[in-house]
């Protein structure tokens, strides 16, 4: 079995196993569902980007020249809603996670394939309702839906948008539930918990957040919609309710939601850093448990969004302390990644460029998060562009970089084709430069006092705004390049080998693209994650397996 001859007939894989639109829309194969998600989140990312372009164009000049204030309110609201709920939250889990979680643990599929397909339809239904709301007249509350503006005063489509997000939440819940059960019950023989790739650990932590947090935003939005329609009050002070309760409930989900976005990305980065340094990750257990720690701590810090919202000073101090505490597991990850690089045999392929970019940008985003966790500093920069820059560093510099890195890394496995490495590296650099030029000036803007959600500003801020808009255009070009070449590879890309990067992970021990049931036979795992010991050493310790280790 050591030798491998190319078959003359096309091999059956998950893509050519069946044909026709029905075979895709009714598929229960996790890999096909991942592709359905990939298509739909790309579509939503495109819509969200259009809003971003419009916002940046408007901000080129200090006056309101493109749109009126009310339109501008809708633009940033819809940018936020689309990007957060319909791109960032499902991005890595629903595409890469869906594709890879079963493969990495040696399973044939997720535990509940029908629920998996259902989750995509729920996502689609939520997305379509939201798009209807945007077309019908849009929504202007900000993606945070703060009461009482959203319940009483806003004249936009709050209920329809809320309904879309409410429905979409269940797709997130189903995905998380599916991952938890799959990771618990479907691991291949020998795949012990501490042999799991870190991508799996981070998805496990993400799933916990999805399962525990999403129901809370669901009931919150439901109560908000009822309050708006039927004038029953939990949030309305006129009816004895409490608008700050809404903020508590909202951030109880929406702060952990940030970890739904960034934890999977950290999983991707752990994979790329270890594999492209060709070294076992430094401190495997620390990196694994730091994911769980982030998930747990993430639920205890929501109050740092309410430092200036009538929260008691003592509660503020505790939330401030806990928010600092989240930095510990995050820093463990960053230090362990850098320690992994040390003396590694590093190759600067596209995925690695994105991963290294992630480390830098996430560090900046995380450190500025500490500014915001500091009570006094937060009062100064609250609701300014400092916040905007901070969370874009986490969401774009973190989540999006991980997503793009992972997409390139596993593209040979997903599509069976190699992407053009030169274009890949070039676009990674363009994205990095564009991103920094867009958001670094916003830190300064915010510190100088430019409030978020305004489109008319004092003329002295214009230089920084122009820089930011220029950066956004570069970023946009950088994002368009992969869109073109990844589609191009589907037809013209060189055929990818089963294991083009020569890596030990389970997903590389099956053909590219994989067969419908992932593996010809259920694998038995006898190796640790990221086992990069040289062949000589493996022979000495008796772990050398010629049919696997000599794959080239």
């Amino acid at each position: 079995m050591g030798t491998f001859t190319a078959a003359t007939a096309p091999r059956v894989n998950y893509i050519n196993a069946e044909y026709g639109i029905k075979s895709w829309l009714l598929t229960k194969d996790h890999k096909r569902i991942a592709l359905l998600y990939l298509g739909s989140i790309s579509f939503f990312f495109f819509i969200g980007s259009l809003y971003a372009i419009a916002i940046r164009l408007e901000l080129l000049t200090p006056q309101a020249d493109l749109v009126q204030s009310s339109t501008y309110n809708k633009m940033f609201t819809q940018h936020g809603i689309i990007m957060v709920f319909f791109f960032l939250i499902p991005s890595i889990p629903a595409t890469l996670g869906n594709f890879l979680v079963p493969m990495m643990i040696g399973a044939k599929d997720l535990a509940f394939p029908r629920l998996n397909l259902l989750s995509w339809y729920i996502y689609l239904a939520g997305g379509l309702i939201t798009i209807y709301a945007l077309l019908a007249g849009g929504v202007d509350t900000g993606w945070t839906f703060y009461t009482p503006y959203s319940t009483t005063f806003s004249n936009s489509y709050v209920v329809a948008t809320g309904l879309g997000i409410f429905i979409n939440g269940f797709s997130s819940i189903l995905t998380g539930l599916n991952f938890i059960v799959t990771i618990h019950t479907m691991r291949a023989p020998g795949m012990k918990w501490f042999r799991l790739p870190l991508f799996i650990w981070s998805h496990y932590a993400t799933s916990l957040v999805m399962v525990l947090g999403t129901p809370v935003i669901a009931i919150t939005i439901l109560l908000l919609a009822f309050e708006r329609v039927a004038h029953v009050g939990i949030f309305d002070p006129a009816l004895g309710g409490d608008p700050v309760l809404f903020q508590h409930l909202f951030w109880f989900y929406s702060h952990p939601a940030v970890y739904i976005m960034v934890l999977p990305s950290m999983g991707v980065v752990s994979e790329i850093i270890a594999n492209f340094s060709r070294k076992n990750i430094f401190g495997y257990k620390f990196v694994a448990f730091s994911s769980l720690a982030i998930a747990v701590f993430g639920f205890l810090v929501w109050g740092h969004h309410l430092f200036v919202a009538s929260q008691s000073v003592y509660a503020g101090m505790i939330f401030s302390f806990l928010s600092f505490a989240v930095a510990i597991p995050s820093a463990i990850k960053v230090f362990n990644w850098t320690a992994t690089l040390y003396r590694g045999s590093i190759s600067y392929d596209t995925p690695m460029l994105y991963a290294l970019g992630f480390i830098g940008l996430f560090t900046v985003g995380g450190m500025t998060g500490l500014f915001l966790a500091t009570l006094a500093v937060d009062v100064h920069v609250s609701d300014t562009y400092f916040i905007v820059a901070h969370f874009h560093f986490i969401m774009v510099g973190g989540a999006l970089f991980g997503y793009l890195g992972g997409l390139h890394y596993w593209w040979p496995k997903i599509s069976g084709r190699m992407y053009p490495e030169g274009w890949g590296r070039f676009s990674a650099l363009v994205v990095f430069v564009g991103f920094n030029l867009t958001f670094l000036p916003q830190f300064v803007l915010g510190y100088l006092g430019m409030p978020r959600r305004y489109h008319v500003y004092p003329p002295e801020f214009q230089v920084l705004h122009v820089l930011s808009t220029a950066g956004a255009s570069i970023l946009g070009v950088g994002l368009l390049i992969p869109l073109f070449y990844l589609i191009w590879t589907l037809r013209y890309g060189p055929i990818a080998a089963a294991n083009p990067w020569h890596l030990p992970g389970l997903e590389w021990r099956t053909s590219s693209p994989p067969p419908t049931e992932n593996f010809e036979t259920t694998p038995i795992v006898t190796w640790e994650a990221y086992e990069f010991a040289p062949i000589e050493e493996m022979k000495v310790i008796g772990k050398f397996r010629p049919e696997v280790d000599s794959v080239s």
Binding site: I180, H184, M186, V211, L212, L223, G240, T526
Partner: protein, 250 residues
């Protein structure tokens, strides 16, 4: 055969075994864990409303007691009994399936569904009473806003009137009723889903699909049913009982 791989053939695989599971045990484990995780999400879903209850109860204790006292404790208590018995019949239905007594299992499933429907019927009577007294909050019912008659101080007792302690705002009673309707309404919705689930179980049980080897769906539906009952076990004291003694003693 290459070293390190095993074939996944089974001596005898059950017809209900799905292709991606290795054996029935794994399939059952996955299904059960899936339901437990789902129930955790349910706890979080109800949790938002329980939080609101807790917060406003401590903010407006008097109004909440007044609202609570106006609920029909007899119907509530009967409903509690009905649900507890339905949990028993559900457990017996699972047991009968496990030991292969299909007839008994069908009878117990029907009993569970009848008890569940009884609960919903009694709940409907209660809802109607609230509608009659104009206690449905806000504009939930078009044309019949929240507008209860408040008992005059020292007037003859009238069970249709709200007994509001002095200094308490009727607005806060409305808040109580909104929380009451939200919690019991979502709970009733879960009951309806549960009865729907059980009707599938009943259909397949009659068709003889379940056996001592394969009974996971009934077991999992049972988990859901018990969970919905437990929610009510919390709702009943919180909404009907707490602070009842204050009416006459305080």
């Amino acid at each position: 055969m290459a070293e390190g791989y095993v074939a996944t053939e089974h001596a005898a695989s059950h017809p209900a075994l799905q292709h991606h599971f290795e054996n029935m045990e794994q399939q059952r484990e996955a299904g059960t864990l899936g339901m437990w995780v789902f129930l955790v999400t349910e706890i979080m879903f109800f949790g938002g409303m329980f939080l609101a209850y807790m917060l406003f109860r401590s903010a407006y204790p008097g109004a909440f007691v007044a609202g609570s006292n106006h609920l029909d404790i007899k119907l509530g208590a009967i409903n509690t009994g009905v649900l507890i018995v339905s949990s028993l019949t559900m457990a017996l239905a699972v047991y009968s399936t496990q030991v292969g007594q299909r007839r008994m299992s069908v009878i117990f499933l029907i009993a569970t569904m009848v008890l569940g429907t009884t609960f919903l019927g009694i709940k409907a009577v209660e809802y109607h009473d609230k509608y009659r007294d104009s206690l449905v909050p806000g504009k939930l019912i078009p044309g019949r806003p929240f507008n209860p008659a408040v008992q005059e101080h020292g007037a003859a007792y009238d069970e249709h009137k709200l007994h509001l302690p002095e200094g308490e705002s009727v607005k806060h009673v409305e808040l109580f009723y909104w929380i009451y309707f939200a919690l019991t309404g979502v709970h009733a919705l879960h009951m309806i889903v549960g009865i729907g689930l059980l009707s599938f179980m009943l259909y397949f049980s009659i068709r003889g699909r379940y056996s001592p080897e394969y009974h996971a769906p009934i077991e999992i539906s049972g988990l859901y049913w018990h969970f919905v009952d437990i929610i009510w076990i919390f709702l009943f004291p919180l909404l009907y009982l707490l602070g009842r003694h204050l009416e006459h003693g305080g």
